[in-house]
Structures are given as C-alpha cells and as structure tokens.
Symmetry: D3
Subunit: 252 residues, 6 copies
C-alpha cells in the first residue's frame, strides 16, 4: 500500500486498522566513495520498501532522499538538509499520519548521520503514544553474518547497489583510498575515530581531510561484488519482513 497512490478516503479506511505499520524509507544524497552512487543511502531503503510491500501489508511512505550530510559537502553532488531540515521532514510525516490514527512506524534508514533527527522524532512520538523502530541495514547485516561488515562507500554498500542495479557502478572511477591519519600515533580507524593504544577515541574531521576518495570502512570498494550484495539482500529482507510482522502485534 503506497501512501502516494491512495486518495484520502482510501487512506482514512486504511488507517482504521489497529496494527497498521508505516514504513518510511530514509536516506541521503551524498558522496559514497569513488564508485558508490550519490543516491546509495536512499536507493537501498527505497528498494527494500518495495520488496517488503510485496510480502506483508504495510503502508509505504514516499522515500526521503535527503538527510544530514554535513561531513560530506566538500565532495561534488552532496546535498545536506541539516538536522533541522530532516527533523522537520520526519516530524511532518509522523505527526501527519499519527493525527489520523497511524501509531507504528519503521524508519528504514540508509544513513548513519540521520540518527540524531530520527531519535528526536521517535522519542517525541513515543511520548504521544506512538512507537518508532529504526532499522539501519548496514548495521543489521553483520549481526546476521559477521562477514558482512562495512563502512561508508566501501565494499558492503557498493555490493548492495550491485545487487539492486549493477549499472549504477562505474568501475572506471575506482581509485585507491589514501588515509590522512590524524598523526602517526593516532591512526584513523573510521572517518571519525582514531586508535590510541588499542582503544578508540572519536575525533571528528570533515571527510575530505581524512580520505581522498570519500569512501572508508571495514572493506575496500575494490572488494565489492554482486554476490555479496545478493546474499545480504535476501537475508535482510527475510529478517525485516519477520520483524515488521512481529512489530504489528505489539500492544500499545
């Protein structure tokens, strides 16, 4: 059931169902390393939402293609709507639907940077009697299979895009990632974190100051392959559909 395809009378009838779950695909338009398309973070949730809709009755909200991408604006093609912008969008969706009876929401999220705004909406909604679950597919994947770890614009994300639409990866643009570590003794292990004596300390820098290619994570973008993407896709979809069905039965 696609919200955008219903007229308001159909929506009214649909919202009368107590166990209705609304799926909000949320992403970002931002650089994703040397070959990841700018839309990576919303194309994946958008694809997942369409698949979920085929397997269980849910309400699919139009995909939110822009998010909080301040770290990435030094790279061409990045759009950043900021905390306030994303908060306004998600708040608008949740308030608009809950006003007419929808009480359960799943944020199908493709971008870690969006989390602060999603958390704020979720807490406020809960204080008014709603429930919001947030599914970050890239974090969920290694919980299903530890081999599926990944980071921003690296093998994990690129593989998933390959599984959805291989044509979106232009291999000619592959490049080696060179890391500009904070110092010799404070080596970056993530975009925003350094290792010091075996433990991790957060040090936030603009992405362009850390890596030339924009991509950085547990695996290299060269490592991406379609099969990895397919495997994750199948496992994640099965899991998420099961979760959504379980979530429907939660008593409020």
């Amino acid at each position: 059931m696609y919200l955008a395809h219903l007229n308001w009378q159909q929506a009214k009838r649909a919202f009368a169902k107590d166990d209705l779950v609304a799926i909000i695909p949320i992403g970002s338009t931002e650089q994703h390393g040397p070959v990841g398309p700018l839309g990576t973070d919303f194309l994946i949730p958008d694809y997942f939402a369409k698949q979920i809709e085929k397997r269980t009755e849910v309400l699919i909200v139009p995909t939110v293609p822009f998010g909080i991408a301040t770290h990435h604006v030094e790279f061409s093609g990045t759009i950043d709507i900021g905390f306030d912008g994303l908060y306004a969008v998600i708040k608008g969706i949740v308030d608009g639907l809950s006003r007419h009876g929808v009480k359960k929401f799943v944020f199908l999220n493709g971008h870690g940077g969006n989390t602060p705004a999603l958390d704020k909406v979720a807490l406020e909604a809960n204080k008014k009697g709603c429930l919001c679950a947030q599914i970050d597919w890239w974090s969920l994947a290694p919980m299903l299979n530890p081999a599926w770890k990944g980071g921003h614009g690296d093998g994990q994300e690129v593989s998933m895009i390959m599984a959805i639409d291989e044509g979106l990866i232009n291999k000619d643009d592959l490049m080696e990632t060179k890391v500009n570590h904070l110092s010799d003794k404070l080596k970056n292990i993530h975009l925003n974190a350094v290792d010091f004596k075996g433990a991790t300390i957060k040090v936030i820098r603009s992405v362009d100051k850390v890596v030339n290619s924009g991509g950085y994570g547990g695996s290299d973008s060269y490592s991406a392959n379609k099969q990895w993407g397919e495997d994750m896709k199948v496992a994640l979809l099965d899991y998420i559909v099961d979760f959504v069905n379980e979530f429907k039965s939660v008593k409020l």
Copy 2:
C-alpha cells in the same frame, strides 16, 4: 543525468559544464479531492522530469515529495513539513549544487502552497549569482490552452494523473463536492477567495471548512478524462523542453 545515479567524480565532471541546468521536481503529499491520489503533486513533476531527461541534457535531482500542506491536514494522509521544512530542503539542494558549480535551477513544482519557500530560496540564490526558474504546470497549462483551467484535486489534475497512470484513480470514491460558502453574499470561488460584487477577496479557511470532498477548482472531478490529460501532457512537455533549452543559453 540523474544526480542519485552519479558518483561524486561523475558529478564533478558534469558540473564543470557552464550551461548545466538542474531540474528539481517538487510536490506535496496531501489530499487531492475525492479521487486524486495523495501523491498527485509530486507524481506529475516526477514523471515530467523523467521525460525531459530523455529529450535534453539536464541534471535531475531526486524528487521532493513533501511540501507545505497546512491547509489540508484535517484530511487523512496529508503530510505537512511547513515553510521551514521545505525551505531547508530546497535551500540544501541549491546550496549543495551551487557550491560545486551548478548555477541554473528549474523548480518543476506541482503544488501552489510551496511557492513562498521556493521564492525565498530563489531570491537568495540569485543574490549569490544563480538563477532559479519556477514552472507550475497547472498554471502553465491554461496559458497554452485556456480550456485547460483547473484547481485543487479537480478535473485538470485528475486528468493528468489518468494520462500518467490511470490505475491511480479509484472511481468508486467519486463524490459530489458541497461548498460551505462564507455567507450568502460572500460565495467562495476558490478555496481561499470569495466573490463580493464581482471582485475577489482572499479569505483563508482550513479546506475542511470549505468543502466536504477536499477538491475544488474550475472544474469538477467528474469531468476528468484521460484525453484531456494526454493533451496537456504533450503540450506541456514540448513547451518545458523548449524553455529549458532556452534557459541553458542565458548568460549569467
């Protein structure tokens, strides 16, 4: 050229072209009368953008599916992100792209209520050396053919949806529109305007106080037909493609 499908290196190369025009399809998710789908206002610009892309080289930005819909929130399924929300989104897009060289933007707009936020972004962008054109298809249509007049959720919009995807119109939900005029002598001629002695005065009311069905305009939703939509679609697309080509050649 779809922004979401480019990687940042492709975007960087594309943005180097002086005459690049970015098309931003912008709409709303809100009630559209008895049978118009909630997504009417963004589905049409989204469709148009895809057609334009086939006929001339442009950059298509991901469609903005939510807008300013405060008048309509009493009807199920309406999402309102408010002035501040829409401003943040459009500002984010224009700032993000112009930072890396894009200077010309076309707002392909499907919802009149969005105008204040679009105007603000356009003026600010112009003061920094950019140009934004705004195309409101429903206003442009009767300039091309006076018979194509229309209003919110009535024959004009419903016909256009029929031309794009006839399956989105559920005729079982058709209903007669009953207008609750402001008074016997102040009859509504639009949702937000009354006639008084042959002239028009703006009096803004929440839509649900004005019409039972949510739709209101120059024509009734019963009058919608696919052919009308097809005729408008063809004429509008020809015109817009011509305009975009002309707009490319404007010197900044």
Copy 3:
C-alpha cells in the same frame, strides 16, 4: 475606533461586540521606483483605514510600516524585516486581540511581498476560530476597472499617492526605466517573470538586476496623474466599506 486611543477598559467593552472587525493596515518601507516615496505601501493603507473608520464602526490597529522587502534592499532606504519578522508582528496582533474576543480581521495590505506571512497567520487564526480577509488594493483596483492595472512603483501607485498627498512626489527625480531582460528570448514582463512563447515563467532576480529605476509594472511612472488616483480612491473606499459591512454579518 483607534486601538491606540482606547484604554484597556474601553477596549474590553468594545471587544464584547460580536461583529467587531479589526482593520490592520500593513505595508512596507522600500524603494518605489524613481518617484514613489519609500512609504508608499503603508501610507495608502493607513489613509484608507482612516477613511473607513469615518464611515463604519471598526477597530483600527496601528499601521504596520515594515514588511518583507528582500528583493529591494539594494536600493537606498529599503527596510526588510523578513518573513519571520512580519509573521511575529501580525501574529502578535491577531493573537493579542483574539485572546480578548476579536474574531474578524481585515488585512489592508499595500505590499504583495507580505503575502506569505499574512497567509500563515490567517490560516492559523482560522484553525482557532477566527476569520482574516486580505485586501490588496492594487489587485482590487483593476477588478473594479480594468483600466486601473499597475505594478511596483509605476503609474498606478504613484497616482494613488498623488491623490493622497501630491507633495510626496518629486517630479525632478523621474527617470526612464531601462529593463535588463533575462535574455533576448526571455523578456521580462514583470520583475519576477519572463515571457517565453506567449506564456509566463517565474524567474526571480534581485530588483536592481532587472531595472535601473526600481519601478516596473503595467504602466510607466510618467503616466501617473492625480485624477487616476482620485478615481481609484473613491471606488476602492466605497467597495471596501461595503465589504467590511458584509464581513461583519458573517456567522462564525
């Protein structure tokens, strides 16, 4: 009845009347072409309000002399309080009066740029049970007589000022308006719109980029004359007084 001249006890007694209508004259202080005074947009509503008060019982709120004038700030003497500033002022007026019983408001507006803020207040007020009518005199005039068309700082506005206070027009400053069209094929027909193949497309530019003189509209400022102003003034006042009386009798 002037709000500023009442003490609070008189106000309390006055607000007890069910059909009380509050008139809020609203304008802007901004450039008005070569000879239009900076106060054009508020001096006219201010004058009208005083005349209305002589002919029917209304509550006249102090005139709001500043508005949204971002397009014009490149010209000396322009004051811009922005969307948020004007919204705060008008919201403050409507909330303050409605809290103590006033339910009907007429925005006697002299500046088109103010509309987004007025619309927002009007809709919010309606959702709380109030009614706001907006009268834009320059738009109303050609509805009463098609010959009375006009634009920013041109014959129509200057003529009206002449009818109110001829001394405010300094003819020595008359100058020819030269238009910097967007391109040869995209000729400006308004400050914010171009003609393309017989239809109109909005392209917003800062006013100083469009015209040297700041004034632009359906008629030239050379065409202004006092008689035109007098004719409009008489007809508009008659119409507005009649409207206000009709508006009083609307049932809430």
Copy 4:
C-alpha cells in the same frame, strides 16, 4: 526628513551626509493603567520625533508601534510581538539603513520592556561600526527634574499624554489601584520588585496578579495633570535636540 516621504534617490543623496542621525521612535501597544491609552508608549516618541525634526536635521524612521509586552497580555488591547519580533524589526531598520551609509541611530523609546531587544541590536551594530543611543524619556525626565518621577500608566505618563492630546484621557475610567502584595512582609514597590528590610528584590509576576488597574508607579493616575506634561515635554525636547546635535558631531 521623513524616511517614508523620500524616494530612493532622495534617500541615497541624504545618506551621503557623514553626520546623519536616524531617529527611530519605538513603543508598544499595551494597557497603561485605568486611563492611559493603549498607544501611550508609541504616541509619545512619535510626537517627540515630529518636534525634533522641526528643530534639527535628522532622518525620522516610521514609528514602531509594537513591542515586548508579555507582562500585560492579560489586559484587553495589549499586543505583544515578543523579543524575537521586536529584534527582527529593529535589526531590519538598522541593517537596512547602515547598508547604505547611515551610521548613527537614536532609539527614541517609550517602553522599558523593549530594552533587551534594543540592546542586542545596538551592540551588534556597534561591532559593525555604528553607534546607537537609547533615550527612555520616562527615565530621563526625573534626571532633569526629580519631581518628575513616574511608573507604568501613572501620573507621569498620563500627564505627558494630556500635554500631547488631552482628548485621549477618559476620566470616567479612573479607578483606585489596589496592590496584591507578594506577602505581608514582601510588599511590592514596583510591578516586578518587592521591598525586604529596606532593600529591593526583583520578583516578576504577571501584571494582573499585582494590580487590578494595570497601572503602577511612583505616582497615582489621579495625580496626572496637563501642566506637568507640558513642563516635561518642553524640557525633554530641549534636552533631546541638544543631545542629537552633540551626537551628530561624534567621530566614528
């Protein structure tokens, strides 16, 4: 020289003078005790500005009739535009004029509650090279003559209104002011302050919780008389004109 009466070319020529001082009359529309008109706080600065203009060359900005009146909103007729609203208005004025060359401003203020917003604008303007003086006539009066002390809506303000327009005082509405002290040992000596053992402690309460009549100060509203107003008016005008002339000669 009235800003509203100049066209932009006259403004441009006027602003070229190095020693130009802009006078901004600022007030409030709020209850002023049993007989003080709601406009007291702006009618007085408005009157003063007009007199100053006759005696020395200055630029008079349109009077700001609304201010920060949150303490008073429980009384009919009070308008409160809040800190953010007043800040936007005054900031708009100072930024708009200073952008085109005006560097010195006098806030001719009639309402103590406005001070925080005026201070903020003044400091920011100074950091950009401007100077703002603030004249609170009711505080200045007792510095010229200790007998002229006064408070909100009491003898001092009412006398001044009598000297400007006696018809604005409706003596039938005079009433005795009854003070609801904070406690027997914490007696109010101002609206927002109590005496404790001979010293003063600020305790802010909504005005309606402190006095029935809304007026309270160093003198009773019964004590108002036109002569007192005349004496203050003459002395204040002389002083202010002298100050403005001195202020003109300050080197920036």
Copy 5:
C-alpha cells in the same frame, strides 16, 4: 540539599515539601578587568549558595557558569552562550523542577547581562503558577551600605573575590584603566552610558572600544581589599538567608 547529590527517589521525596525553594547560582565566564578572574560572576554565587545551604533548608541546583557576555568577547577567555543559550539552560532547570513540584526559585545571579533571559523565564514560570526571585548581589550590596557601590571588574567585585579566595587575584596584572570617551562632551560614566549635561544616555559599545583594561565601574580595581569583601559577604549572606526564609512562607 544538593540536587546533584540526590538520587531521583530522594528528589521525589524532597519536592513533596510545599515550601521548598530552589537556589540557582548563575554567572558568566568573561573578562573581569585587569585582575578579576574570568569566573568572578559564577564563583561568587556558587560560594554564596554553599553558605546558604548550611543555614537554611534549600535545594541547590548546579551552578550555571556561562551567560550572556557578548560585550566582552574581544577579551581572551570570555565565553558567550547568548540570550538563546542561557534562556534554554534556565528554562530547562525551571521546567524540569516545576514539573515535579518545585514552585519557588531564587536566581542567585552574578552577571547583569544575564537579566533579559532570566526575566523571560521568570515571567513564563509565573504564568504557570511559579515564583522566581532574582538576587543581583552587586546591586543589593549598596542597598545595604551605600559605600559598597561597584561596577564591572572593579573594587567591589575584586574585593568579594579576595574574601572568598585571595589567591585568585594576581596583583602583577594590575593596570591603570584608560577610558576612551564617546566624545569630549559625551563622557562615559558606565561602559554603556554617557553623561550629557548632567543626565545619562545609554550608548552601547563593545567593551574593548571603551576601556583598555576591560574593568570599569564606581571604583578602581586598585581600591579592592579583602576587608571590604568580608564585610559585604557577611552582610549579604545574612540578608539573603533571611529573604529566602521569608520567601518560603509566601502563599502561592
């Protein structure tokens, strides 16, 4: 009773007492003249709060060490959280405690610049049934003894710091204060005020434009001495404890 030392169950039990008074020590971290420590404005309220707690049952809230210090940011070490920042902090405290039953608050304030934000919170709190008293120790001191007058970073404040912790004053940094008067005829008598013909006019300038040393007031920093501080300290503490006890007994 220190809020930070209670667990929530202890807090719940404590808040059940009707006459509970919460003391909020509030200051600023900003330059305080040649020898006053940057923390002067919060160290004093912090000290006072600890002494009060020994003498009467009160709830001591954690000290707020930052305030509105925009005037002072040109001097090293100054922190300015602005009006909105301080308002958010104090509002957060008052709302958080009043939600669970605390109704009376004493703002033990060390910095005059904080007043606008404290006033706003106090008024809003009163409209919801709470009472906030504000004690500005430097203003209270000369009400107890006229010899104890003082200004920013001068003898009065430095003496008080000496009485609390003499080691915080580094006499090697003493310097003569040189005032940059507004003009020969407009001599500064405070940081933000000039004398003109025996009366005082507010003219706000950034502090670094007025005095080289940052300190300025009724007395010189050379005049500071520990005994003066001790005398004030004892008298103020006695007075404040008495006031707090009286404040407890006020009926709401």
Copy 6:
C-alpha cells in the same frame, strides 16, 4: 590551569601556546537509576578533569552540568536543556576560546545523550581549523577491560561514583529493576533497543515506560562496588592523560 581562575591577561598569555588543549567536562543532571545521584554524569568528568590537571598542563573549562535528557524527564530531578541548549553552550565555549587562539578541545563527556550536539560543534569547529576529541569514559572503560561494561545508572556508573565519593550512594534506595519489554518476542536489551532473533533493533521509548527504577544496563546496581570504581578510575586516568599528551603533539 583553570579558565575560571585566570584573568584575561593570563588567558591571553596562556592561549599563545600552540599545543594548548582545552578540556571541557560535560555531563547531565538526570535520574541515574535507584541509587545513582542525579549529578553522576557531570561529577565524574569534573573529577577526572581535576586529576588530569595535576598530571599535565591543560586548560580546564568550567564543567557543563546540564545536557540532553529528554528520555528521563518523567523522573524527579531531571533537567533537560535539549539539543539547542547544549549546542549553544558548547558552541559558545569552542567559539569563544578558538577566537583567541585555542585550537584543540577534549570533550570529557559523561552522558551519551549529549553526542548529537557535541558532534555538530566538533564538525563545525574542524571546518574552521580546530580539532575536537570526545572521550566517553563509560565506553572507553570496557575497551581497556571487557569486564568493565555498563549501562545507564547501573553497576559501572555507581561503582565509579563510589570511587569518587562513596557518601553519594544511599543504599536504602536500592530496588529491583523490572523491565517492561516491548513484547514477549521483542525483549529490551537496552533502554532503546530490543532483540529480535539474535539481532538488535532500535525502538526508542521514554525511560519510565521501559523500567520502573530508571537504571538499566549490562549490570545491576546491586553489583556496584568501590573497588571496581577504583580500578576503572586509575586505568582511565592513565589512559586519558597519555591521550591528551599525544593529542597536544598533533599538527594542525
């Protein structure tokens, strides 16, 4: 070196050192389970800062005792200054110090909920040439020793408080924590997360809806003991001092 204890001349001299690191202790005042004091989150960073100062030259900024605690406001004694409030405070600190030459900051943070505001400041500061490290002691502890895991108000935090000031723990208030799981199949494993088939999904609820006692984490509050706290304290301090020394030598 304590910022609050320096005068501005000392600050100026201190800030001239290139490798200066400013330590900002940041916490929250909020419920911490049955026996954790409300100040837990700032008392610990405050204590750590004092110890660090003894072992290496740093600038200690006054402790920020309030943070983002919206999840916890249903429990007595919780103060929530929200995202905007905390952002204003931390932004004020970093901007104020960096303006005068300080370029490196360590956020010594005691509360996970503060992270979004700290991240925003850190990124903005980095874009202006500064570096901010964030140390969350409760996350760092299990990186040093996996046995030291903990959650909100449970054994880990309570043990650390015991090591700092045992008197702050009132054992009489110990109570059993009862968890209100989201459903039988969606069991909470953290305050904001449930387990579903071995993986974790975020579902944010107000804390009072999840646990009766407010405390919840990897260990029970009954398990707290002073020795655990001492062990963590010693190891963490050693590590943090080493890190700060390394951070000093980073080239900007």
